[in-house]
C-alpha cells in the first residue's frame, strides 16, 4: 500500500494569495494512499526540506509530491532532499501550483480546485513511480568554443589555462570579432586592437587550443560530456603550411573592387585577402564568389606570384568530426544597417552611416587613417549628428529592448570627433542617457562638459538630403517638444544591436532555445545566466543579448568556469528516464514482436537488435533493445510501438494513464 506525502508550499504569498493551501492540504489528505498532507510557507527553505525529510522517516513514505513551483525550477532541490532522507529521488514529483495555477488565475474556488486536481494527478503518478538509478557516463574533457570574438577568446584562454583542450571555430578568416574593428574603447579610450591583438596571438600559440578559422559547425550529436561535432572547414584555397603570409598575392590580385567587410564597406579589398593587418592567422583566403579564376576560369595571378607555391585552387571544403564534452557559444551580435530606416532614407544617403562604420572612420587603421572624413566626398564634416536609439526601444520597429552599448559608444564617438575636428559641432539625439557602469557616467559627462557635445533629448522623425546636406528633423523634448532642424554634413546612427545572422540556424543545429529576437536563451534569467537549456552548452558574450566588452569578458570567464567545473568530474550521472523494451515470462520473453519500425523514429540511433537465446545458444527471439547510455528519453518510439512493448521510465504508460484518469475523474 502506497504511503504518499504531499507537501504544499505557499511560496510566501505567491501561491497562497490565490490558492487556499490549507484546503488543498485538507482535501488531498483524503486521497487514498496519501499518508500525510501538510502546507508550509517555504518548502524550498531548509526548515521546509527538513520537514519533508522528517515525514519521510516518521511516516515511512513511499512517495513524495511537492506542490510548489515548476519542476523546471526546484525538482532537483526536492529530489535531493528525498534522497538524503533515504527515499529514491525518483519517487518525488512536483505539482506545479505556482506557474501553472496561482500566478495565472484569480483568487477563487475554481483556482483552489484546480490546485487540488493537479496535486491529485501527481499523487496518482507517484503511486506508480519506480525507484530509478542514475546512469553514469564518461566525460570527454575537450571544449568547443564557437566564435572567435573577445568573448570566445576569453573563454578559450581560461579553459585552456586550466589545462583542458579547447577547439575554437571561427566562421571568418580571422579571429577578433567586432572588437578588432573598434577604434578606441570606452570609458578609457585605449586602443581596441592594442589590447585585443595580444590575446588573439595567445590563442593561436596556446598549446591547448586548436584554432579553426573560416570554419563553421555543421552538426551536433550526443549529449553533455559526450558531444560529437561535425565542423566544416571552408576551403581557403591555400596550403597554410607553405604560406608564409608575405601578402604578395594580395597586392597583385586583379579583383580589387570588393567592399571590405572589416571596413564595413568603406574601403575595398582584393579577392585573395587578409581581412586586416593584425589578422590571426595572418594568412590569406580566396573569396570564391569574387575571385576571377573561380568566376571566369582564368587568372591565377596569385598562384604565379606566390613564392612558396601555396595556392590550391582545387581545395575543397573539409568536414572533420571532433568529440567534445562541452560547448561555449560566443557567436556575438550584429547591428541593424541604415537601410533598416525608411524615415532616414533607406540607407540611400552616403553620409548617413552606422556606428561600426564610424568606428572604422575613426580608427587609425581605417580607410581614412583615422581622419574623420565623410564617405561621399571625403570632406571633413563640420556638423555631425549622432542618433542614439536608432531602432532600439522602438516597438514599432519590433525591437523593444535597449541595445545597451549605444549611449556609451555614441558619447565616445562625440569625444573622438571633437578630438579630431576641433572646430566641429557634434549633436546627439537621445532618449535617456544610460551610463550605468564603472566610470561610465563620468565618461558621458566628459563628452558633454569637456568636449561640448550638444545632447538633445528627443527623437528624429526624418532625415533627408538637400543640396549636399543632410537635414535632420527632430524634436527637443526639453524645450517643450520644439522641432529642431539641423543641416548636418554627416549623420551617425547608433543602430540597434541584433542577433547575428546565423544565430537561429545554429540554435536549431545545437538544440538550444532562443528568444523572439533570436538571441540564445539562458536557462534562468537570474540564477543560470551562462547555461542554456541544453546541458553542457554554455553562453558567452553578445550572443545572449548585446553586451559591452567588460560584460562579455566577464560572462566568458563565467562560462569557462562552468566548463571546467564539468570537466572536474570523470563521470557524469544522467537522468535515468530512458526508454526500455519490456520483458515477460517465457515463451514470450517480451511482447516485442521485433518489427523494428521503432528503429527509424529514434533520433539517436539508440535502438539495436537483441537476440534472446536459449542455454544452448539457439536464437529464440529477436527483439528491440534500447541502449540506455544513448537514449535521451524522448519517447517517440514508445508512442509508435503497436504492442506497447516500449515504456519510458518516469513517464510510463501506467503513470500517464493514471494522470489522465485522476485529472478528469473529479473535474
Amino acid at each position: 500500500m502506497a504511503r504518499i506525502g504531499v507537501f504544499i508550499c505557499h511560496c510566501g504569498e505567491n501561491i497562497s494569495a490565490t490558492v487556499d493551501c490549507a484546503k488543498v492540504a485538507e482535501v488531498t489528505a483524503n486521497i487514498p494512499g496519501v499518508a500525510v498532507s501538510v502546507d508550509y510557507k517555504y518548502m524550498c527553505s531548509d526548515p521546509g526540506q527538513n520537514m519533508i525529510k522528517e515525514y519521510i522517516e516518521k511516516e515511512k513514505l513511499t512517495g513524495v509530491v511537492v506542490a510548489a513551483c515548476s519542476p523546471r525550477m526546484h525538482e532537483p532541490t526536492f529530489r535531493r532532499a528525498c534522497g538524503e532522507a533515504g527515499l529514491n529521488p525518483f519517487l518525488c514529483e512536483m505539482a506545479n501550483l505556482r506557474e501553472h495555477c496561482s500566478w495565472v488565475h484569480d483568487k477563487n474556488e475554481a483556482t483552489t480546485n484546480k490546485a487540488i486536481d493537479i496535486v491529485r494527478t501527481l499523487v496518482e503518478k507517484v503511486k506508480r513511480n519506480e525507484p530509478l538509478m542514475p546512469i553514469k557516463v564518461p566525460v570527454t574533457k575537450t571544449a568547443l568554443v564557437i566564435g572567435g570574438g573577445v568573448a570566445g577568446i576569453q573563454s578559450a584562454l581560461d579553459i585552456a589555462n586550466c589545462g583542458h583542450k579547447v577547439i575554437m571555430v571561427e566562421k571568418d578568416p580571422s579571429i577578433g570579432g567586432h572588437m578588432s574593428q573598434l577604434s578606441e574603447t570606452f570609458p578609457t579610450l585605449d586602443c581596441s586592437q592594442c589590447i585585443l591583438t595580444p590575446r588573439m596571438v595567445e590563442v593561436a600559440q596556446h598549446p591547448n587550443i586548436t584554432l579553426y578559422t573560416y570554419a563553421e559547425v555543421e552538426s551536433l550529436d550526443g549529449f553533455i560530456g559526450n558531444f560529437k561535432v561535425k565542423i566544416r572547414k571552408k576551403a581557403k584555397s591555400l596550403d597554410e603550411k607553405l604560406c608564409t603570409g608575405c601578402g604578395l598575392c594580395t597586392t597583385k590580385c586583379p579583383a580589387k573592387k570588393i567592399p571590405s567587410e572589416f571596413d564595413q564597406g568603406l574601403s575595398n579589398r582584393t579577392a585573395i585577402y587578409v581581412p586586416f593587418p593584425q589578422a590571426v592567422p595572418n594568412k590569406p583566403v580566396i573569396d570564391k564568389e569574387h575571385c576571377t579564376y573561380y568566376i571566369k576560369g582564368k587568372c591565377k595571378v596569385c598562384e604565379i606570384v606566390c613564392p612558396t607555391k601555396a595556392i590550391r585552387f582545387d581545395q575543397e571544403d573539409e568536414i572533420i568530426e571532433v568529440e567534445v564534452g562541452a560547448l561555449v557559444l560566443a557567436t556575438g551580435f550584429d547591428i541593424k544597417r541604415a537601410n533598416f530606416f525608411p524615415e532616414y532614407g533607406y540607407g540611400k544617403y552616403k553620409d548617413l552611416i552606422d556606428g561600426l562604420q564610424f568606428e572604422r572612420i575613426a580608427s587609425a587603421s581605417g580607410p581614412t587613417l583615422g581622419e574623420i572624413r565623410r564617405p561621399s566626398d571625403g570632406q571633413i564634416p563640420k556638423k555631425i549628428v549622432f542618433l542614439a536609439c536608432a531602432g532600439s526601444r522602438d516597438p514599432a520597429k519590433g525591437i523593444e529592448y535597449c541595445s545597451k552599448i549605444c549611449c556609451m559608444y555614441t558619447a565616445k564617438h562625440a569625444i573622438l570627433y571633437k578630438h579630431k575636428v576641433h572646430d566641429g559641432t557634434a549633436y546627439i539625439f537621445y532618449m535617456d542617457i544610460r551610463a550605468a557602469g564603472k566610470n561610465y557616467d563620468e565618461f558621458t559627462r566628459r563628452a558633454i562638459e569637456e568636449d561640448g557635445a550638444k545632447y538633445i533629448r528627443g527623437r528624429v522623425s526624418r532625415i533627408y538630403e538637400r543640396d549636399g546636406k543632410l537635414i535632420v528633423v527632430g524634436a527637443d523634448t526639453l524645450m517643450n517638444a520644439k522641432t529642431v532642424e539641423i543641416e548636418a554634413d554627416m549623420v551617425v546612427l547608433a543602430t540597434a544591436g541584433v542577433a547575428s545572422p546565423g544565430a537561429e540556424e545554429l540554435a536549431q543545429k545545437l538544440h538550444v532555445s532562443y528568444d523572439q529576437h533570436k538571441f540564445f536563451a539562458e536557462a534562468h534569467p537570474k540564477l543560470r545566466p551562462v547555461e542554456t537549456n541544453t546541458a553542457g552548452i554554455f553562453l558567452a558574450g553578445a550572443c545572449q543579448n548585446v553586451k559591452d566588452i567588460p560584460e562579455s569578458v566577464a560572462q566568458a570567464s563565467g562560462a569557462a568556469v562552468k566548463v571546467c567545473g564539468l570537466f572536474s568530474n570523470d563521470e557524469l550521472t544522467r537522468d535515468p528516464s530512458v526508454a526500455v523494451v519490456n520483458r515477460t515470462a517465457p515463451p514470450l520473453f517480451s511482447t516485442c514482436v521485433g518489427c523494428f519500425l521503432c528503429q527509424s523514429v529514434c533520433p539517436y540511433q539508440a535502438i539495436e537488435k537483441e537476440e534472446i537465446k536459449s542455454r544452448d545458444g539457439k536464437i529464440l527471439k529477436t527483439v528491440a533493445f534500447i541502449n540506455p547510455s544513448v537514449c535521451q528519453g524522448c519517447g517517440t518510439c514508445v508512442a509508435l510501438c503497436r504492442s506497447k512493448s516500449i515504456d519510458i521510465l518516469g513517464y510510463t504508460h501506467k503513470q500517464v494513464y493514471a494522470e489522465v484518469d485522476a485529472l478528469l475523474n473529479t473535474l
Binding site: T584, G594, V601
Partner: protein
C-alpha cells in the same frame, strides 16, 4: 489448376518444402485454406475466384514458422502482405517459397522477395473507383451523420476479434486488448469498447494495411471496418506518397517524416 497441383507435388516430393499452404474445397461450396504436407494430398488443391482468403496470415503463426519450409499459393493481396511482413522483419526468405498466381490465373515462379516486389510494382496499384466511391459516400456525410453511422455499425460488434485473427498484419503475440495495466481498450463489447478497439485496429494498421478487405470478410456481422484502414491508406498515400505492400526497403510511413509535411490544423 493441374499445373498448381503438379508444382505442389514436386515441391513436397523432393522435400523443397514441408507444407504447401493453399485452398481446397470447403463446405457449402466455399473454398477454405488447405495445409498440404504430402504429395498425395496435393490433388485437393484448388484455385479459382472463390479462393479469397489472405493466406499470408498463416506465415507468422508459430505452429508453421520455424524450421519447416513453407510454400504458399499467393494471390496478389497475399504477395503484398508478404512484402509488408518481410519489410517488418517477420519472414525468413529461406523458409518461404512463394507460388504466385497472376490475375489471369497463371503460376508465377518467384526467385526471392525482391522478385515479388518487382512484380507488384508492374501491376496497377491505384484504388478502384468502387473503393473510392465507398469512402466518398462517408466523407460526404456531415460530422453528426458520420458519428451516427459508425456508432450504429460498432454497436453491433461483439468483439470476437475475427478481424484481428484474419489480418496478416495483426501478428502481435500479445495484443494491447489483452493488457489491463493500463486498460487501453475497455473489455466489454459496448459502444465505447468497440469504438476504442476499432480505432486502435485502424491506427495500428495505418500505412500497413494492404487493402485485402479480409477483416470485413471475416466479420460475422459484415461491419465495413475495412473502410477505416482503407481511408487511412488513401490519406497516407495522398499526404506522404507511401502505400503499404509495395516496397521491402522504404521506411514505414509513420516512423519517418519530412520537415515540410503539409498540415492545415496546427496553430
Amino acid at each position: 489448376m493441374d499445373k498448381l497441383r503438379q508444382k505442389a507435388k514436386e515441391l513436397l516430393s523432393n522435400n523443397e518444402v514441408q507444407i504447401v499452404v493453399g485452398y481446397e474445397e470447403g463446405t457449402a461450396g466455399k473454398a477454405r485454406p488447405a495445409f498440404i504436407s504430402s504429395p498425395d494430398q496435393a490433388d485437393a488443391l484448388i484455385y479459382d475466384e472463390r479462393c479469397i482468403h489472405n493466406l499470408a496470415v498463416y506465415l507468422t503463426q508459430h505452429k508453421l514458422s520455424g524450421n519447416t519450409k513453407i510454400a504458399i499459393i499467393a494471390s496478389f493481396p497475399v504477395m503484398k502482405s508478404i512484402i509488408t511482413l518481410a519489410s517488418e522483419k517477420q519472414l525468413d526468405e529461406n523458409f518461404i517459397k512463394v507460388i504466385g498466381i497472376s490475375k489471369d490465373n497463371n503460376i508465377i515462379e518467384f526467385k526471392d522477395f525482391a522478385d515479388i516486389e518487382r512484380y507488384i510494382n508492374q501491376q496497377d496499384l491505384t484504388f478502384t473507383p468502387e473503393e473510392l466511391a465507398l469512402i466518398e459516400k462517408i466523407d460526404a456525410m456531415s460530422m453528426e451523420e458520420r458519428w451516427e453511422y459508425w456508432q450504429n455499425e460498432f454497436s453491433r460488434c461483439f468483439k470476437c476479434y475475427a478481424c484481428r485473427s484474419a489480418c496478416p498484419m495483426c501478428y502481435c503475440t500479445l495484443c494491447i486488448t489483452d493488457f489491463n495495466q493500463p486498460q487501453w481498450v475497455s473489455v466489454p463489447s459496448h459502444k465505447q469498447g468497440n469504438f476504442e478497439w476499432h480505432i486502435n485496429r485502424a491506427m495500428h494498421l495505418a500505412g500497413r494495411c494492404i487493402g485485402c478487405d479480409e477483416c470485413s470478410r471475416a466479420c460475422p456481422l459484415d461491419l465495413p471496418i475495412n473502410l477505416l484502414t482503407k481511408k487511412l491508406s488513401m490519406d497516407i498515400q495522398k499526404q506522404f506518397g507511401y502505400s503499404a505492400g509495395q516496397s521491402l526497403t522504404e521506411p514505414y510511413a509513420l516512423s519517418t517524416y519530412k520537415p515540410d509535411d503539409k498540415e492545415t490544423f496546427i496553430r
